[in-house]
Structure formats: structure tokens, C-alpha cells
Amino acid sequence: MAIEVEMATTKVPEVRDITRIERIGAHSHIRGLGLDDALEPRQVSQGMVGQLASRRAAGVILEMIKDGHIAGRAVLIAGQPGTGKTAIAMGIAQSLGPDTPFTALAGSEIFSLEMSKTEALSQAFRKAIGVRIKEETEIIEGEVVEIQIDRPATGTGAKVGKLTLKTTEMETVYDLGNKMIDSLSKEKVQAGDVITIDKATGKISKLGRSFTRARDYDAMGAQTQFVQCPEGELQKRKEVVHTVSLHEIDVINSRTQGFLALFSGDTGEIKSEVREQINAKVCEWREEGKAEIIPGVLFIDEVHMLDMECFSFLNRALESDLSPVLIMATNRGITRIRGTNYQSPHGIPIDLLDRLLIIATSPYTEKETRQILKIRCEEEDVELSEEAHTVLTRIGMETSLRYAIQLISTAGLVCRKRKGTEVQVEDIKRVYSLFLDEARSSQYMKEYQDSFLFNETQTGQMDTS
């Protein structure tokens, strides 16, 4: 049974806004590279602190990416742990904006049982190349006459809705799905609005209010625009421009056709013939002026996790003119190249290193550390007293920046539990004694090694390279 709820113009029931709850990540305070128009780095800006030389270098790379003419350049960001390598990469991603593809992956992500290493790398490369192309879509454009939404009496279950739209010439009733009902109430669409709906995706955009409703002065903001009621047919075909990645085109064209598509779940490996065909097609589109290629950025973090095969694949892949700008980051010094017994700087073969532009990051000074901790406190919404801030900076300098950052929210919690408003030195001391940092933990291990399990196997160090 369903209760019918007629919605009056002014009484649109407020639906809980479906907004994504943003969580605070390690680099969520980064909003850009913090450079001015002349690419000069500001000391503290957009969440970035210090690392002036490397930020400036990243800014030059950024200009090159925005320019879009140079293909297949590779950049290595090298530096000690906790010196802002990933932050710089995130800064680049943020400054590029949503239109340029930015694909980030960690070096260990490519090792999968379902896919070969090189396939995973190829896919990542192709995800980082965007194609701007025109496509025809069907849209519905009209003035809303009536919205009617039926809710089940039990309060749960599927809602059913009807939407009546009109133009100057005709009127049509549409059935609404659940998703449409939600987005209609989110957009606060009401009778008298002129809207367009993308028929395939269901995306709604409000064009304004109809002139015929100009007399209703209720519920109207200053920015309300009045538009004419559309003419002619409700459904129209319209050309829209959107960006897809080469990988998405690959997937569309490699799906098994017909009913067999039901049984082959994920895409898996894509045949190289399909890729070649698509490359040819995209080049053709570009020559005809139908499409535009937007080379993006592929960021590989912890690049020392890649092995010899991957590096030689990268050597080759960078030579293609359809390759993105590759940014890698590593915190290793001279170490063994994975998959060989040879030692090399950063664990990367010399021939690949030779193709790279290397940006080095250096450890933060005390002043910078203090500044970063301040930014993180704001980001994590923790108030710190002046003394506690100094103590935390000392901890950051003596142990590591990451450890100090971790203490912020834990100290904040301890402070809240004792009903304080500002984190004091006491709270910092408390969490400092509760949680060990890496150095103290190692010290502890050395002292009590004998009482741990399996302590007789003391041969060699852990092999991480």
C-alpha cells in the first residue's frame, strides 16, 4: 500500500542531503603546490611548507604537463621518508584540476594474480591519457508542471514517482526511478522550474524558473533566473563534450559481445590488437578535429617495489607518443634492484635513471616542522597550546614528522576525555608514553630480544627491496 503525497510548490519535503563525508587523510591539507604566478614558491601556502627548490621544480614540471605537448617525460621525486614526496605529487594533482587525468598507484599494486605486471602498468598508463570527444546524447528539456512522489506506508522500500514536463507545444508524463527521485529532491526541483535531464545518465540541471511563474514571489532567491518555457519537442538530441580515458575506450571495445558478456565478469587483460585499433582511431579523430588528446599524469609511489621487468617495460612505454608524464617517488638510497642481484641508486636501473628528471627533497627544519604541525592541527580540528606545540615540534624533530602528526589526534582525544579544550603538554606526554615511536620500539626490542618468540633466528635483516 502506498500513501500518495501531493507536493505543493512550496512544500518540497526536505530529504537528508546525500553528501559524501570527507575523511581526513594524510595529505588532505594539500590544496596545491603553493607557487605564485612566476612559479616562485611561497614559504607557506596551500598546505605546503618549505621544500622550496623541489616545489619550484615541480612547478616547472606542472607547466610542462599543462602545456601538453611533451609526451613520455618521467620525473623521480627522491628523498628521505617524511620529507613531502607524496605531498608534492598531490600538490601537482590538485593544481591540475579535475579535467586532466591524474592516476596514482603504489608500486606494489601492480602485483596481482589476475593480471600480469605489464598489463597492470599498461592499464595505468592508459588511464592517465584523456580524450576529449563530442558525443550525441538524448536530453529531455522542459518546464516542470507537477512532481508527485508516492512513498510506501511502511517508510522503507522503493519510492515511485511521476514527473510531468511541458514545452510550449506538448506535455508528457514520466515515471521516475529511485535515483531520479533522490536527485530531484536534492536539486530542490519544483513546479515551474525549467530543467534538462540527460536521459542516459539521469543528470539533472536546472536552467531557471519559467516566466509564467514570475508572479509567485515565494521561495525565490536573488539569484533566481527567469527563462522562457522551451519550444517544440521535449526530447532533443544534443552534442556534449566530455573526457574519457583511453583505458575506458579500451574497456568499452573489448567487452565480449552478446550474452557471453554476462559470464565474463571483469575486464581482465585487454588484447594488444584492441589497443592498437583504438590508438589508430584516436589519432584519426584528432586529425579530423573530432577529438583532443589530454595527456595526464601517472604517479607511481614507492617505485622501488617495481622489479626489473617493469623497469624495462617503462623504458619502452615512455618512448610512445601516447604516453603520459610519469612521476615516481622513492625513499630508498643505493639498494638492490628488485628481481636482480645488482645494486643501483634508488633501486632503479641506471638506463631508466638516465631518462629521469630527479627532484630531491630534504629533511624539514625545526621551523618548518612547527608550521606543518600547525597546519595538521587545523586540519584535524585540534587546539594546541603554545607549549604543547613546542614539545610536539621537538618530538617531530627527534623522532619523525609522521609520528608527531599521529600524536595530534591521539592527544586531542586524551584532552577531550579529561574535558579540556586545548591540548596541554600533559596530554602530549601521556600519548608519548602510551605509543612508542620507531626508535624507542627498536631499543625495546634490543633489550628484551631474548624473551620474544623465535629469537634464535637472528640471521640477517628483513629483506624489503
Binding site: 507545444e169 508528457t172 515515471d175 536521459k199 582511431k281
Partner: protein
């Protein structure tokens, strides 16, 4: 493109097209002549938006001598409708004086043979909530269809019942 003919009367029952989208995805069937396809309703369909079943349904169904379009679910008197030819845009326009229905469509067969649209060949009737618009086929189209029919007669139809499907 796929066409279906009645084996006894030689009438065209269905003509439909399927094109690939710009990016290479397989499109859905576009019915030019015959009943619109009513596929099984999947769960993803109900997610978005579609026309209510009480709306007018537009379809084309030809006879031997004329192109014919039927619009069902139009419960208005005949004098509400006006059907006219727009030679500049090469299309036929159906209007209603009560502003309930409006449709602009082209005669694809005429476009393909690049023949002009003639207002005098157009007529319409209304009965049983259905508006029927007829456009007399010109001579050129009739001869073309006769030739096509001759070609089609040479083809051997499959026997009755289900067609053998090769198992995978």
C-alpha cells in the same frame, strides 16, 4: 539494419537499425518501422527516467501504397489535431491545439531517395484514441519497392519453427 517481411502479404513488418556509439559501445536497436521494442525490464532501468505508459506511443506501420504513422493513446477529438508539411526542414509536424502533443518527424525513405515532400499527399484520420497519419508513396518509391521485393523473393527463407543455433 534488419528488416522483417510478412511472407504471405509481402508487407514490411519491422525495420530496425543498430549503430555503434562514437566510442565503440554497442547501441540499442532503433526501430524505424513496426512495434517499438519492449525488452525485459531490468533493475537498472527503473533507476532513471522513462515515459509513463499512458503517454502517446508513436510508431510507423506502412501499407502497400502509403507510409503510415500511428499514434496511440491520444484521447482528444479530431479537430484538435493539425498535421502539416514543413518543406524547408523536410519534416512533417503534428500539432495539437490543446498543447498536449507535438511531434516533428522526417520520412526517412524520402530522404534516402532524395525526393521532395508534398503536402497534398498527406492525410490523417482519428479513431479509437489513435491518430493515423498517411503519406501516399510517390511513384519512385513504389517502383523501388517492387524491385526490392523481386530481389527478396530470390532469397530462400528459413523453414518454420526455431532456427538452429550453433552451440558455443
Amino acid at each position: 539494419m534488419a528488416e522483417e517481411y510478412d511472407l504471405k502479404t509481402d508487407e514490411l513488418i519491422v525495420r530496425k537499425w543498430r549503430n555503434k556509439s562514437t566510442l565503440g559501445a554497442q547501441g540499442t536497436w532503433q526501430v524505424e518501422v513496426g512495434e517499438p521494442l519492449a525488452g525485459p525490464v531490468t533493475s537498472s532501468d527503473s533507476e532513471v527516467i522513462k515515459e509513463n505508459c499512458s503517454n502517446p506511443v508513436f510508431m510507423r506501420k506502412d501499407t502497400k501504397t502509403s507510409f503510415q504513422w500511428r499514434i496511440r493513446n491520444l484521447p482528444y477529438p479530431k479537430d484538435v489535431f493539425s498535421v502539416s508539411v514543413e518543406p524547408s526542414e523536410r519534416c512533417i509536424i503534428i500539432k495539437t491545439s490543446n498543447k498536449k502533443y507535438y511531434k516533428k518527424f522526417t520520412v526517412v525513405d524520402l530522404d534516402r531517395s532524395q525526393l521532395p515532400l508534398d503536402g497534398s499527399a498527406l492525410s490523417f484520420t482519428h479513431a479509437n484514441n489513435t491518430l493515423i497519419v498517411s503519406y501516399k508513396k510517390p511513384k519512385e518509391i513504389l517502383t523501388l519497392e517492387q524491385e526490392l521485393m523481386k530481389e527478396l523473393k530470390k532469397l530462400k527463407g528459413t523453414g518454420d519453427g526455431d532456427v538452429d543455433c550453433k552451440t558455443q
